[in-house]
């Protein structure tokens, strides 16, 4: 069998070999086989083509994670376009910005989300075509929408596109330091090289049942979606509500016989603390992968005590490279270990090096910035040529190295150890948060004169975000009003934990906000 080079091929090959095999299980809603997923995404491909979508275009996805949404992803890539998934829980204003920014031709969305985003898009002067679904679940609303459109005007059947490996497959928007999210452009080569590395590292099998815990706009979803599809395994979708509720999540993992779990560490900590894991049978679970933030050893040890059977892997990597280093956690975990585990060694489809502040490679294990090169590295940020150029280092051999912004050291066995960030980005529950994006949102409040946001280390939560606001005319916002305003303008995971209302903010000698002093303020 020839290896797949593009995402649509992963599905078409699997559905040819095993059309009756179950591809996706959407608990309480329904299931879909490989054959049916292929047919449904073909129908969407034809409809999108009839709507004018062509190779090289972008198509937005604005809906709950569901069989409908996964079929939409495959329908889009089958036209040769790139998919742009957004957080259905984020403010419509932010999502409209994303659709406008990358000029999507069509948005596939749920009717309940239509009015607000239409209003926001109109005010931006953009109006992509909408393909509206009456909700989501088991692919039923998508089928109904396609039937309704077909009744109006049948969509002619077209061939599945064969993108080149360097064509864009998807754009994932992450928090941007200037206040606007930025689009990470990823190609078929980026995705396939990563999926192939997963095959090598975790040797998945058609009998496996993978979890899909992360939302589709989060880069963890690339492993969740495409690794099981390649191996004709089954993907079990975990809804957002169940995904954050350990009391419901634990029995779901057991009942659905999930064998490969992948998520940010924070929900695994919650499962260990609140999931009553001793009550259920997890005998199917053989691999636990986590990524997105540091897993406090105390919580990992507690989880291992309850789940002693699986292998545990710490995966590391920014959206720009997806996973680029990995480390298998040696078990059992010694009782006296408190420092977090290494992020490990570079994945086989990539190269890594550590550079000092002059851009010179350090080889003696001393501190420096981790840089990554190879097939998994993004093409750049959508329509941000300067920011893209700044994020790369080109060496004497013309190789492009992505500068991760993460400071690392190397231990005696050659494993990288995460030390911290060069800039103002923090990780919270696995999400990237640019403190500057929160500040930009706070400045939009009419009463706010000055705003500054800092991240404070916290033993329990990993990091806590604290906002300092000085208000006009000596007034102050109430805490409730400040939080409500943030919730209206930012995704919930960006809402600060703590607020402080000083009369003015401390300044450095050059009249810039003194973040160092803010961190020391009570």
């Amino acid at each position: 069998m020839k290896a797949a080079l593009t995402l649509p091929q992963l599905l078409t090959v699997s559905s040819e070999v095993a059309p009756e095999q179950m591809a996706i299980d959407e608990p309480t809603r329904g299931e879909i086989t490989y054959g049916d997923l292929d047919i449904l995404s073909d129908r969407l491909r034809d409809r999108l083509w009839a709507f004018g979508v062509r190779p090289g275009d972008r198509v937005g996805i604005y809906m709950r994670k569901s069989i409908d949404a996964v079929a939409a992803i495959f329908g889009i890539v089958k036209t040769g376009a790139a998919y742009v998934p957004v957080d259905p829980g984020a403010p419509a204003e932010r999502n409209a910005y994303i659709f406008h920014n990358c000029e999507v031709k069509v948005v596939i969305l749920e009717t309940r989300l239509e009015a607000k985003v239409r209003e926001e898009l109109t005010s931006l002067g953009a109006m992509p075509r909408f393909l509206l679904l009456e909700g989501t679940g088991a692919g039923v609303p998508l089928r109904e929408t396609l039937a309704r459109e077909d009744a109006l005007a049948p969509a002619p059947k077209v061939e599945t596109a064969i993108p080149t490996p360097d064509d864009l497959a998807y754009i994932l928007y992450t928090s941007g330091s200037t206040g606007k999210p930025k689009g990470v452009m990823l190609s078929h080569r980026n995705a396939i090289s990563f999926v192939d590395w997963c095959s090598e590292a975790f040797t998945p099998h058609a009998n496996d049942r993978f979890s899909s815990h992360a939302p589709l706009h989060f880069d963890l979803s690339i492993l969740d979606l495409f690794v099981p599809i390649k191996h004709r395994a089954t993907l079990v979708l975990v809804s957002e509500e169940v995904g954050k509720d350990p009391a419901r999540l634990a029995p779901l993992i057991a009942d659905k016989r999930i064998s490969v779990w992948y998520s940010a560490p924070s929900i695994l900590s919650l499962l260990a603390q609140y999931g009553n894991l001793e009550r259920y049978d997890f005998s199917a679970l053989h691999t636990v992968l986590f990524a997105g933030e540091v897993f406090p050893v105390k919580h990992l040890r507690a989880l291992y005590a309850l789940w002693p059977k699986p292998r545990y892997f710490n995966l590391y990597g920014p959206t720009e490279t997806n996973v680029c280093t990995y480390y298998e956690v040696p078990t059992p975990i010694p009782a006296d270990r408190t420092v977090p585990f290494p992020i490990g060694k570079v994945c086989s489809h990539l190269l890594a090096k550590v550079i000092d502040e002059h851009g010179t490679e350090v080889t003696d294990g001393s501190e420096g910035e981790l840089c990554i090169s190879g097939a998994g590295v993004m093409q750049g940020y959508w329509s941000l040529p300067e920011q893209s150029a700044r994020s790369f280092l080109t060496d004497a051999t013309e190789a492009r190295w992505y500068k991760t912004g993460d400071i690392v050291t190397t231990d005696n066995e050659g494993h990288y150890l995460f030390v911290g960030r060069r800039d103002r980005m923090v990780k919270r529950r696995g999400y990237r948060v640019e403190l500057g994006e929160i500040e930009a949102a706070l400045y939009r409040h009419a009463m706010v004169k000055e705003a500054a946001v800092v991240a404070l280390a916290d033993a329990e939560a990993g990091v806590r975000i604290k906002a300092f606001l000085s208000c006009r005319d000596g007034k102050r916002l109430s805490l409730i009003e400040a939080k409500r305003f943030c919730a209206e303008h930012l995704p919930l995971y960006m809402v600060p934990d703590l607020f402080s209302f000083p009369e003015s903010l401390p300044k450095t000698s050059t009249d810039k906000i003194d973040y160092q002093r803010l961190k020391e303020m009570e």
Partner: protein, 82 residues
């Protein structure tokens, strides 16, 4: 009923809104959609309610429909105590 609301209000102010003027927290203030309670804070409130009132919330009740305001929480607790 008012006792329940006062108890929850006091707990939320102390744990999640330190320093806030109590008059600004209304029975109808949205807590989850208003960015005051994140998922971990919500679990803490549930643990508090379960212990304080010796009741057990069902898994499906731990969501925005049942816990978004102090009034919602009080309704849920009252229905369990009867």
């Amino acid at each position: 009923m008012d006792d329940i609301k006062d108890t929850i209000k006091h707990y939320i102010l102390k744990e999640f809104l330190p320093g806030e003027n109590p008059d600004d927290l209304l029975d109808s203030t949205p807590l989850i959609t208003g960015g005051i309670l994140d998922s971990i804070a919500t679990l803490k409130v549930v643990a508090f309610i379960e212990e304080r009132y010796s009741i057990e919330l069902q898994a499906h009740e731990v969501d925005v429909d049942h816990l978004n305001t102090i009034a919602d929480m009080a309704d849920l607790i009252s229905s369990k105590k009867q």
